[in-house]
Amino acid sequence: MIWFVAKRLLAAVPTLVAVLTVVFIIVRIVPGDPALVILGDQATAEATEALRARLGTDRPMLVQYWSFVTNALTGDFGSSLVTGRPIIEEVGAVLPHTIDLTLASMVLGVVVGVPVGIWAALRRNGAVDIAARLLSLLGLSFPVFVSGIYLLLLFGLHWRLFPVIGNADLSDFGDRLHKVVLPAVALGLTMAAYITRVTRSAMLHSLGEDYIRTARAKGVPWRRVVWVHGLRNASLPVVTVVGLYVGILIGNSVLTEIVFNRPGLGKIIVGALNQRDYTMLQGLMVIYCFLIVVVNLVTDLLYGVMDPRVKQA
């Protein structure tokens, strides 16, 4: 088990370096000198020089690359061009809002998706199954900003059940909860739809296996067969898929934050886009990718804990 964990941890380092390399290349593919792009054509030579020095783009490419990678691996993602504050601080200030949102939507997705998926699998080709399949496909088809706007129109503006502006007071749990409901539903909708489908398919697969037949044959009650034997084996693909879904979740959270005007990483990234804050964009991209790599690692390890076969491999 220790070797298993060590191996996975070790394998994550090259991935991180590779991610950093790709980010470095992408940012540098921009045609033209970033300093000129930021300042415009009318900038004085001194101002451009100064900005180049601040950006570090006056140094040789390899030196830039090396310091970028080593800094990032030690947790230094650079500073914002606009505010001058370290990116990690800017991100840290709003991170709780984004975490509230994503966690709430994930909980929603699992709480709705898993039972519905199981229910649909047990009633294969019945009314529940067909409804679950169509509704989940509908849920998957909603771009999150569309579902967000529709929810906002109905529950925020028409019935006025939930606040329209999502800037919650972090010290007030009730306020946080109240303001996260609507955005979390918008964001959790696709997640729930996705988990429903995966759970259903994994359950069907698992219920078709020989060990299920064996368990039934030896007289294990059906309820126990489903919950113990079926679900335990179906949970592996579900965990994997939830891990893979984080990439989509991150993108969707940006849109949700825009629609519900919530502070968070999404608003930072849009702000950085509008203000051409290149260091901020670069830093955010790195942070996002690190997040995904870490989630993949956790899924992988979780998989190892849940499935004893993986460890031996």
């Binding site: 790709v22 509908l138 999150v144």
Partner: protein, 292 residues
């Protein structure tokens, strides 16, 4: 000892006609196909069926509610929403079709060649694909468009970039299995070049899987394009895009909610249609996955 038994017949690949017939017999798939075809028709026929010029501004009836001369109302510049929706279908379809075609060709070729060559090369290529996969696709698209500048071609490239890795993976897996089959070895024994083996013998065998994947990813591409336009990184105004229209409507949501509702609905319908078709095709090509 290798036993003297009849080898199990290889899983039959259903003929193309059968797949289409199977997909057609499914009412939901049929519904999806009809939605897609209607939107395609709208995009092609937009110049003839749109009641107004999508850029024409009627100063006297800005933010007009649905009804009358403007069936779906007008926006803040007095432009006809219905006409703009019809024209907007062109952007959605062009960008997503272009992006998926690009991703399909590049990703498919990468996956096939990598799987066929195998060994360390394959390991390296797949590592690179994994790295690409660890970028959240919307963020990657967003940053690439922001860096390259928002125009049609760059949108296509950005969205294609997010889909290359999945296509490489979907093409590689069956290639790995196929290259172990004796007909590939037979091709080599008959003096065929590797290129011929890959493109004449492996490609036709993985094509169904790649095409199903493409139809499913079309839906994603439409969503990503709409999302980028919504953020303001789509094809530049005044060209109408569904995402951009949703954004304009969202800014006027308090007075004229329909402005955001209709383009949002258009996006939803197209994505749903594509998903229904993709799902139906997947069920039809793989009997084992049926209803799973």
């Amino acid at each position: 000892m290798s036993a003297v038994v009849e080898a199990p017949p290889s899983p039959r690949v259903p003929a193309r006609r059968k797949v289409l017939a199977k997909a057609r017999s499914n009412p939901t798939t049929l519904a999806g196909a009809i939605i897609c075809l209607l939107i395609l028709a709208a995009a092609i026929l937009a110049p003839w069926i749109a009641p107004h010029d999508p850029a024409e501004q009627d100063i006297m009836s800005r933010l007009a509610p649905p009804g009358g001369a403007y069936p779906l109302g007008t926006d803040q510049f007095g432009r006809d929403i219905l006409s703009r929706l019809l024209w907007g279908a062109r952007i959605s379809l062009t960008v997503s079709l272009g992006a998926i075609a690009l991703a399909c060709v590049i990703g498919g070729a990468i996956g096939m060649v990598s799987g066929y060559i195998g060994g360390r090369f394959d390991l390296f290529v797949m590592q690179v694909m994994d790295v690409l996969l660890s970028f959240p696709s919307l963020i990657l698209g967003l940053i690439v468009v922001a860096l390259l500048g928002p125009d049609l071609a760059n949108l296509v490239v950005a969205i294609a970039l997010t889909a290359i890795a999945p296509f490489a993976r979907i093409a590689r897996a069956p290639t790995l299995a196929l290259k172990e089959r004796a007909f590939v070895e037979a091709g080599r024994a008959l003096g065929f070049s590797h290129l011929r083996i890959v493109f004449r013998h492996i490609l036709p065998n993985i094509l169904p899987e790649v095409m199903v994947m493409a139809s499913l990813w079309m839906a994603t591409a439409v969503r990503v394009e709409a999302s980028l336009s919504f953020i303001g990184l789509g094809v530049k105004p005044p060209t109408p895009t569904w995402g951009g229209m949703t954004r304009d409507g969202f800014e006027n949501i308090l007075d004229s909610p329909w402005l955001a509702v209709f383009p949002g609905l258009a996006i939803l319908l197209l994505v749903l249609g594509l998903n229904l078709v993709g799902d139906g095709l997947r069920d039809a090509t793989d009997p084992k996955l049926r209803n799973e």
